[in-house]
């Protein structure tokens, strides 16, 4: 018990703290920028101005541009042309270190290179804005700005389709590099820095993105939070149950040794040596278990999960974390059990040998409230016996219920996650987006190109642009979706029913409204990331979207607001695989749902692991408590057996109680698990929105696991019941 508690607590803890510490170390080592200032006129004057700000510590300009590599399937590669390599440094793992004076080399994303089987020394060609550059691969590595990489519509990283590349400014074909991003390191927090930027630079830039909003950073941060929540909360339940069970067990073990302690006392052993004997008995076992858990937890659990995470995140190394709470919990476990043994022991040792040698007078059953009702007389003896037994051993009853409850809660929350993923998929890819293909357009696609595409694929135009949106001091990133009589894209309400957005409406997604703390009728300020024109609008209604948060308006409304209508994609209900000029990538609905499924799969192992531990937990709790109660009621059962009761009858007697506790634990555990799940969805990150719902399947699976465990425990005791020696049990006078 001690082992399992500490093992799970420290193991999961090491994983979640490992996340944090990995990120911190990695960001430190690569000197990740504190903020990114995007602007089109990044001249020396601008840089000087930024450097002149009192809060700025350092800055570095670079050009970040999307390109397509000249390889099969046209993978998207984000190119970085660097002037310096001091902020957000490239992290090389193979080949040469990054060299600023090398104009012929490129340092490539190692995950992309591995997926594409590219080697150091190979040549690779990138095409962007009509420019082609061919370079030799000099090194492979990671970038702190690309921990998490997704392309426009794919939700999970597919290293075959995208990557990044670092090059020196000398590699740029023109002498004048059109830098567009200024990386900054600053002191103080992001909002005070942004304020200074606003005031001193007169908003002479497109947008400022602090770390917290950087997609890669934010995604990993969310993941960390999510893990922390899962691994703070669930192992905590675990350790509490483990501790309580351990403490009950210790007390009972010592109480069961009562007569022996009495004998030892009568024989003249000193109180001290008796106490030392009985305390050390439990102490060493708990200590051994705890230490084993403390060592094995971090060694075995984090690698399992890091392997999953490795598929989602590009990080050169993973650290197993450590936190002082690990030691505190382990020491508390050992100390508490020793303390409990001490008190239990002292109570017995304190008595006179003559009274200690006699067994403790059993607790007396009394008639209570329930017995006064008429229905009591109609209850079977089984029910009456069990009710009184539970009443007489309230603590044991509560512990059993708590064990089942914790198990149910963990199972419901874990399997509920899977339900949620399914629901999001259905909602996002069937109810809202119901096209077959999505053609993502080049930034510079012309109107005539677009019209041609629309005609060819019988498609609809869709504009989805990144925005910044704020209300009061809260600022969030999101997406503005502009509708043009779309039938293949349907905004929905909370119940997933389609809603109509009329020309005078501004619809805000519910999650965004929660994040900004606004209601219908309130005003929000927002701007499209590419332009610095801020707009103030009143929210007229709310829509719900599980994966994309922001604003939905019609094209007419966009015109009214004086913003440019820029089509970003064409959606069609046909399966399109021809390549058109002006199209960057084509996503088929199948590939989108496939990648969604893949993402789900990576969460499975954590879910299964948790479910397994939950089942083990309740198994141990129920068995432990059952074993203790069994030694207490052994004599009663032997009597019943002598009187002619069949083993089956006695088994039923035990099973009934287990099933009661299981049922109560289950009934309370399910809604609590739902609450935990709701909390979990809340920590999923700003872009996710889902109300916790539990599928019938989840309830059935949880029900089956919980009850199977309960019945299994019962089976373990039915063997003992059969072997129960009637003659032997009747001899001792208790």
């Amino acid at each position: 018990m001690a082992f399992l508690g500490v093992y799970v607590f420290v193991g999961f803890g090491a994983e979640s703290f490992g996340f944090e510490q990995t990120a911190d170390t990695y960001y430190d080592e690569t000197n990740l920028a504190d903020g990114w200032i995007y602007t089109t006129n990044l001249d020396d004057d601008f840089v000087d101005k930024v450097n002149g700000l009192s809060l700025t510590k350092d800055s570095e300009k670079k050009l970040i541009v999307d390109s397509i590599a000249d390889l099969e399937n046209d993978p998207d590669i984000t190119l970085h042309f660097l002037q310096d390599d001091d902020i957000s440094k490239f992290y090389p793992v193979k080949g040469e270190d990054f060299n600023l004076s090398d104009g012929d080399g490129v340092w490539l994303d190692i995950r992309f290179a591995e997926a594409r089987d590219l080697k150091i020394g190979d040549n690779i060609t990138f095409e962007f804005n009509g420019i082609e550059v061919e370079k030799e691969i000099k090194g492979l590595g990671y970038s702190p700005e690309h921990l998490y990489q997704t392309s426009d519509s794919s939700m999970i990283p597919d290293y075959n389709k995208m990557g990044f590349a670092y090059m020196s400014h000398k590699a740029f074909p023109m002498s004048d590099v059109p830098y567009n991003v200024l990386l900054v390191k600053y002191t103080g927090n992001s909002s005070s820095y942004e304020k200074q930027l606003d005031n001193d630079l007169d908003r002479d830039y497109s947008s400022f993105m602090p770390r917290a909003q950087h997609p890669s950073f934010a995604e990993f941060q969310d993941e960390t939070e999510q893990h922390k929540m899962m691994t703070d909360f669930i192992p905590l339940i675990f350790i509490i149950i483990a501790m309580l069970t351990l403490l009950t067990t210790m007390t009972r073990i010592i109480n069961n040794q009562r007569t022996q302690i009495g004998v030892l006392k009568a024989l003249g052993f000193k109180n001290r040596s008796i106490m030392i004997h009985y305390i050390s008995y439990g102490f060493w076992m708990v200590l051994a278990g705890s230490i084993l858990g403390f060592i094995l937890g971090p060694l075995t659990l984090p690698p399992i999960m890091f392997e999953e995470m490795q598929q989602l995140y590009s990080i050169p190394y993973w650290l197993t974390g450590f936190d002082n709470s690990f030691i505190v919990v382990t020491v508390a476990m050992v100390a508490l059990s020793a303390l409990v043994s001490y008190f239990a022991c002292r109570k017995i040792v304190g008595e006179s040998p003559s009274s200690a040698i006699k067994p403790k007078v059993p607790k007396v059953s009394t008639s209570g409230f329930v017995e006064r009702f008429g229905f009591w007389k109609k209850l079977s003896f089984n029910a009456r016996w069990n009710y009184r037994d539970a009443k007489r051993n309230k603590f044991r009853a509560l512990m059993s219920i708590a064990g089942v409850l914790a198990c149910t809660l963990i199972l419901v929350a874990s399997f509920g996650c899977m339900d949620g993923f399914d629901e999001m998929k259905e909602w996002s890819y069937t109810d809202i987006n119901h096209y077959s293909s999505k053609l993502v357009l080049e930034d510079n696609a012309t109107d005539s190109q677009i019209d041609h595409i629309v005609e060819e694929v019988d498609g609809e135009k869709l504009m989805e642009s990144a925005i910044e949106i704020k209300s009061g001091d809260v600022k969030k990133s999101g997406v503005v979706t502009v509708l043009d009589d779309n039938e293949l894209y349907t905004p929905t309400d909370d119940d997933k029913n389609p809603i109509e957005i009329s020309d005078d409406e501004i619809s805000l997604s519910k999650k965004m409204a929660e994040l900004l703390d606004v209601k219908v009728g309130d005003t929000v300020k927002w701007h499209i990331l590419d332009s610095d024109k801020w707009i103030e609008t009143k929210v007229t209604n709310l829509h719900s979207d599980p994966t994309s948060q922001g604003i939905v308006i019609t094209k007419e409304k966009l015109d009214d607001l004086g913003l440019n209508y820029t089509v970003t994609s064409v959606i069609s209900d046909k399966d399109v695989d021809d390549n058109f000029t002006g199209v960057k990538t084509i996503f088929s609905m199948d590939s989108l749902t496939d990648s969604w499924d893949e993402m789900m799969e990576s969460s499975m192992s954590v879910i299964y692991l948790l479910a397994a531990f939950a089942a083990i937990l309740s198994l141990i709790v129920l068995y432990n408590l059952g074993l203790l109660s069994f030694t207490e009621i052994k004599r009663e059962f032997a009597t019943l057996k002598v009187l002619g009761f069949k083993s089956k009858y006695l088994r039923k007697l035990l099973l009934t109680q287990n099933l009661w506790f299981t049922t109560i634990g289950f009934i309370i555990g399910v809604p609590l698990g739902r609450e935990a799940l709701q909390y979990l969805w809340g920590t999923m990150g700003d872009s996710f929105y889902l109300k916790a719902t539990l599928s019938f399947k989840t309830l059935i699976i949880t029900f089956v696991i919980v009850y199977v465990v309960s019945i299994f425990v019962n089976l373990m005791f039915s063997g003992k019941l059969k072997k129960l020696d009637m003659v032997e049990s009747l001899k001792d006078n208790e």
């Binding site: 059993p362 007396v364 003896f381 009456r384 016996w385 007489r392 057996k641 002619g644």
Partner: protein, 234 residues
Amino acid sequence: MSTIIEFKNVNKEYKSGDHILKAMDDVNFTIDEGEFVVILGPSGAGKSTLLNLLGGLDSVTSGQIIVNGNHVESFNDNQLTEYRASNVGFIFQFYNLIPNLTAIENIELMKDIVDVNIDGLSVLDSVGLKSHANQFPAQLSGGEQQRVSIARAVAKQPTMLLCDEPTGALDSKTGVLILNLLQSMSNDRNTTVIIVTHNAILAEAADKVIRVKNGQVESIVINENPKKVEDLDW
């Protein structure tokens, strides 16, 4: 009176390692219906073994035990359970009532194993404890608990009452009350009562006294005029 219980050449051996202990060595006796039988013997004489065999808690090594015409020695576990339920009314030295059930519930519990209509209250009345029906064992005195235990055994209407030192844990005054009750069960209701004890005084009250020693029957004495329990010299 007809013979209801018969032990025929009963042997019982316990093995411990290479050593064989003969706990029952060619034991023969009969008990008639309604008899008040006392089985006497010092500690280790084989009293408990005899009781366990007769009560269906243990099986013989060889020999026959015939109860109501049935060969108990040939019963399997299930049949033994059935036999204990319907033929044997156990009365233990330490009463062995179920602490979670009240006096009346302890008695009515027997409905779950025998097909007999049990009116708990009237059975309790017959042992003089009608007013204690709703009390738990822990709330009763030792003598009261033993009376409930007798009521529990009688309620099943078994072939025999099998009593293992029924007064061993009671003071002598209460003990007389209990024995008196058992004797009247035999005399008034024609119930077969078998008492296993080491207390020789009780012999004078028995219809039949079976003395055992070293696993063998030492003597069987039939009292033509058994004394009343209360007239014995305690």
